[in-house]
């Protein structure tokens, strides 16, 4: 028997004080795992777990935060939005069926294609990834739930409110109408609230996406079961990790772009107006730095489903696990080097175009590798053509066709010919249907018995597949030719004598056949199945942990957190299900009546901590409603209610954190089973919350970096940045701001150490000083641009300086709230020398904040004088 100390990384072990050090035996021996559990005890344990994890009764059901409920709502909502966006597509196809048609007026058509693209991307494709991951990931990882269930719920309600707001604008005829990428000046000059609805509504949803990314990354890194080292992770988890990372670097540039865009729309700060030194190209860069990785953010998690289905269909482990990891990680990186291939016709230097063309070709290598690994698995396996496999096969065929046209349009000279024609429409639908729709539907068929405990119809599935597959090709294959014949995108009608009419008619027919296929699927998904028998436990014969689920669903996620030694535990680990069902693994009981899961180390999955997880709550819904108000009221230039909503949203979040996170536990350690004693409270890098802050701040830093990029962009692209004789920020006030904010950071950091050292009184004094210094520093920063009189609407240079100041001050305000929260914690006994997770997290936030404060000071105080 081995002591857990021997499994711990020496560096990490040295950093842990003795009191919270995990104690006991790890890994468990065979004898320990074979030890029978008394049947009465087993029943009592099950009853306690069932009570703790029960979903709230009656109307309180909607306060649930459990991943199985939130994941199901999330997926169904995204699917509903997809159907709406699909209806818009059908209406557009009706309009285009014959030349000179007057079914839809031009402006309505503009609104429809804008909303079709925006809804499919922001309300369906990305949220669907988050939804499915929230639904499935804990089961893949043998965890009871996600690390932050209330955050998932908050993300869901924010998504629902934002989605309904954006989508319903079409019913009032005020939807955005400038295309899903909202290019200025068309979108900045557009009349009516359409552009604002797009900007604010979707920014709100992007925030929800980033919340989900944080949750999923922490889930993969910290909530794997003991023994599941990084080389044993299910491939889906690898993809989630990669895609979560991509969201952190792809969405923030768009949020930064939205911020600049909205400042121009609302306050006339001329970021994209060339007459006052602005440049519309900056929006294109920021949009596509988001927009191209976005395609892979959609594609990778869907193909990850294929990576789960294929081994089951082939009845053998995946071939080339390492190669698929390479492919996922490699694609994640390379996909950031492609964005300018959407901008080949904007007149950038040909040398620059060459880089993006080359990177667009290079990304084919990792993308191709994973498809070959799938094919290889099927070749060497003993394939059963289970119904989901049909969808995966269709996906691979369609995606490959889309990939081939992708190689064509990655070549700048070819792209100049087909840019903005129907060839592009065909290409992108081939990649998205093949890379997203087909694998997702295959995944729904495959995982339905897991999350619904019933089966969908094999026969309807096949009908739906063949309708969708043929309909899709009838619709989109001719579009390649339509595009080559010169038909531009986004035209609401066309003349009848130039050879486009019959191609369009065929496409319209195909669109309706596709829609019929999707409807069959929708019916199969939603039809009542009350009379149908429950599914058997492992209907496809899979080897991964989700098929260890209980039928019917007892609500607890997993009976005990298992000990894992294989990539396919159900195939390879002897007596696995029996051990799981009798509660011989970790935390088989809930004696304290609390929801719990096991937190393990990032690489080797050594148990570190028993985390207490939050349960049902209304405060998350209130937080989402008020956050929604804060984003939605400004659309109609109603600022006072927006500010009130913002304050209430912050209040709801503080209530939620105060009442349910980092609570002082009833005992510092608890018996986790199998001879292991684990701490119930940890702080710093061992705590999931710390990782949550770390990952959020990585994303936040990317947004800040995008603003800094903006400054350098104007400097390279514009001769008048900064303009001759421009007023600069006051050096004195800037230096003072930097010093005060640095002082605030230092006080926070010192408070953490001093509090830990057992001197909470001194820490309290520091925590009173820190926010005062921060407020003074933020004020000095505003005065630095205010006193010399930088007028943001006069030119892009002062506007950019103001943008940096506004951004930084908003973060300083958040930092002040966090310092105040910690101060209150020390006063009311929630934060003690021993239980100090909040202070660790606040300090981590301030590490990031002080860097961005100093950069802002340098950008406004020093840099312009050097340029």
């Amino acid at each position: 028997m081995t002591d857990i100390a021997e499994s711990m990384d020496p560096g990490v072990a040295a950093a842990i004080d003795d009191e919270t050090r995990p104690r006991g035996i790890y890994p468990p021996t065979e004898e320990m795992l074979n030890e029978p559990v008394d049947p009465d005890l087993q029943k009592a344990q099950e009853a306690r777990l069932r009570a703790v994890w029960a979903e709230p009764p009656g109307w309180r059901y909607w306060s649930a935060v459990n991943n199985s409920e939130v994941g199901a709502w999330y997926s169904l909502t995204a699917f509903a939005f997809m159907l709406c966006a699909g209806v818009l597509a059908l209406l557009m196809r009706v309009q285009l069926a014959v030349p000179e048609n007057d079914f839809l007026p031009a402006d309505t058509f503009n609104q429809f294609f804008t909303m079709h693209g925006s809804a499919m991307m922001f309300l369906f494709a990305v949220p669907m990834f988050e939804a499915i991951s929230i639904l499935l990931l804990p089961a893949f990882l043998g965890a009871r739930d996600m690390p932050f269930p209330r955050l998932s719920a908050y993300g869901y309600w924010a998504f629902l409110i934002g989605g309904i707001f954006v989508l319903s604008s079409i019913l009032f005829g005020v939807a955005p109408n400038s295309g899903w990428f909202m290019y200025p000046p068309l979108a900045t000059e557009a009349e009516g609230p359409g552009s604002d609805i797009w900007l604010l509504g979707l920014s709100f949803i992007e925030v929800a996406s980033i919340a989900a990314a944080v949750e999923l990354i922490v889930g993969v890194v910290k909530c794997r079961p003991p023994g599941m080292r990084i080389n044993l992770m299910p491939l889906y988890a690898w993809y989630v990790l990669v895609v979560g990372g991509m969201i952190l670097f792809a969405f923030p540039p768009l949020i930064a772009g939205d911020f600049l865009f909205e400042m121009q729309r609302s306050f006339d700060w001329p970021f994209f107006d060339p007459e006052r030194g602005g440049d519309p190209m900056l929006w294109q860069h920021l949009f596509w730095i988001f927009g191209h990785p976005e395609v892979y953010i959609i594609f990778l998690p869907s193909i990850a489903i294929a990576a789960m289905v294929i081994p089951t269909a082939a009845r053998r482990p995946i071939v080339g696990y390492n190669w698929i990891v390479l492919s996922a990680v490699g694609t994640g990186f390379l996909s950031f080097g492609l964005w300018v291939h959407h901008m080949f016709t904007t007149g950038l230097p040909s040398l620059s175009l060459g880089f993006f063309s080359a990177a667009s070709e290079a990304v084919v290598i990792p993308t191709g590798i994973q498809l070959f690994a799938f094919v290889a698995t099927l070749i060497v396996g003993r394939v059963r053509m289970i119904q989901p496999m049909l969808w995966i096969a269709g996906a691979v065929a369609i995606f490959t066709a889309g990939g081939l046209t992708g190689i064509m349009v990655a070549l700048a000279p070819f792209d100049w010919q087909v840019h903005d024609t129907y060839f592009i429409v065909a290409h992108l639908h081939y990649t998205l249907f093949g890379g997203m729709i087909f694998p997702i539907i295959g995944g729904v068929y495959y995982f339905y018995p897991f999350f619904a405990k019933k089966k969908m119809s094999d026969r309807l599935g096949r009908i739906s597949f063949w309708l969708t597959f043929t309909g899709f090709n009838i619709c989109f294959l001719p579009m390649h030719l339509t595009g080559l014949k010169g038909m531009p995108r986004r035209v609401f009608t066309y003349p009848g004598d130039i050879g486009w009419d019959w191609l369009n008619l065929i496409s319209t027919v195909g669109a309706f056949v596709t829609a019929a296929g999707i409807l069959v699927f929708a019916w199969d998904l939603l039809r009542p199945k009350r009379d149908q028998d429950l599914t058997e436990r492992n209907p496809w014969g899979g080897g991964t942990l989700e098929w260890a689920h209980d039928v019917p669903d007892p609500g607890w996620g997993v009976r005990g957190v298992p000990y894992i030694t294989s990539r396919y535990p159900l195939w390879d680990q002897p007596n696995f299900l029996e051990r799981l069902d009798t509660g011989r693994f970790y935390i088989p009981d809930a004696p304290e009546g609390l929801r719990e899961t096991v937190v393990t180390s990032a690489v080797d999955a050594v148990p570190q901590h028993v985390a207490r997880i939050t349960g049902p709550a209304w405060c998350t819904i209130w937080a989402a409603v008020f956050t929604g108000g804060a984003f939605i009221f400004p659309t109609f230039h109603m600022y006072p209610p927006a500010i009130i909503c913002g304050i209430l949203a912050v209040a709801a979040v503080i209530y939620w954190l105060w009442t349910s996170t980092a609570l002082v536990p009833e005992a510092p350690m608890k018996d986790a089973g199998l001879g292991l004693t684990l701490p119930t409270y940890v702080s710093g890098p061992r705590a999931p919350g710390w990782w949550g802050v770390f990952i959020t701040m990585l994303g936040d830093s990317t947004a800040f970096a995008s603003l800094v990029f903006g400054v350098f962009f104007y400097w390279t692209a514009r001769p008048d940045f900064p303009p001759e004789g421009a007023v600069h920020a006051s050096p004195l006030w800037t230096a003072l701001a930097a010093a005060l904010l640095f002082g605030s950071w230092a006080a926070t950091r010192a408070a953490r150490g001093i509090n830990r050292g057992g001197n909470p009184r001194t820490a309290q004094i520091l925590l009173i000083a820190a926010p005062l210094l921060a407020i003074a520093g933020g004020t000095a920063l505003v005065l630095a641009v205010w006193v010399p009189g930088l007028a943001p609407s006069s030119h892009v240079y002062p506007a950019m300086m103001w943008a940096l100041v506004v951004w930084t001050c908003a973060h300083v305000a958040a930092g002040v709230v966090m310092q105040g929260y910690c101060l209150a914690g020390t006063i009311f006994g929630k934060l003690t020398p021993r239980y100090d997770a909040d202070l660790w997290n606040t300090t981590l936030f301030w590490h990031f904040l002080v860097v961005s404060c100093l950069i802002t000071a340098a950008m406004i105080g020093i840099l312009p004088r050097m340029l």
Partner: protein, 120 residues
């Protein structure tokens, strides 16, 4: 967070990070040179230097990863066991493959400078 290379994810992704930095430097440098109206030869020289540095760095990362994988020692390829050795060799193997793909990426990205001799 752990920085021991045998158990570190950061080492595994060091090569693609080098690719990203190379990409940003090359793109930013070319954009600045061309926007200022300087000679494209200056841009190409900078690209050559950045590419040389990136290749050297990626080669070093790849060599360490190869040694960590230690393929020729025991011909382990799948790394699907629960031991420390499996994890160490897996991270080496994946790091090596990523170094390879990053190297190809860097060479691809530098290649336009071989063929295109002007900003226009």
């Amino acid at each position: 967070m752990q920085f021991d290379r045998r158990s570190s994810l950061w080492h595994m992704i060091a090569a693609p990070i080098a690719w990203s930095l190379h990409f940003c430097v090359v793109y930013g440098w070319t954009a600045s040179v061309c926007a200022r109206g300087w000679d494209a030869g200056t841009a190409r020289l900078g690209i050559a230097i950045a590419t040389g540095l990136a290749i050297a760095f990626i080669a070093a990362i790849g060599w360490h990863a190869w040694k960590q994988w230690d393929y020729l020692d025991d011909f382990d390829y799948e790394h699907d066991g629960p031991s420390v050795e499996d994890r160490r060799e897996f991270l080496g193997h994946a790091g090596w493959l990523l170094a390879l793909v990053s190297l190809i990426g860097v060479l691809f990205n530098a290649s336009p400078a071989l063929f295109i001799s002007s900003c226009v």
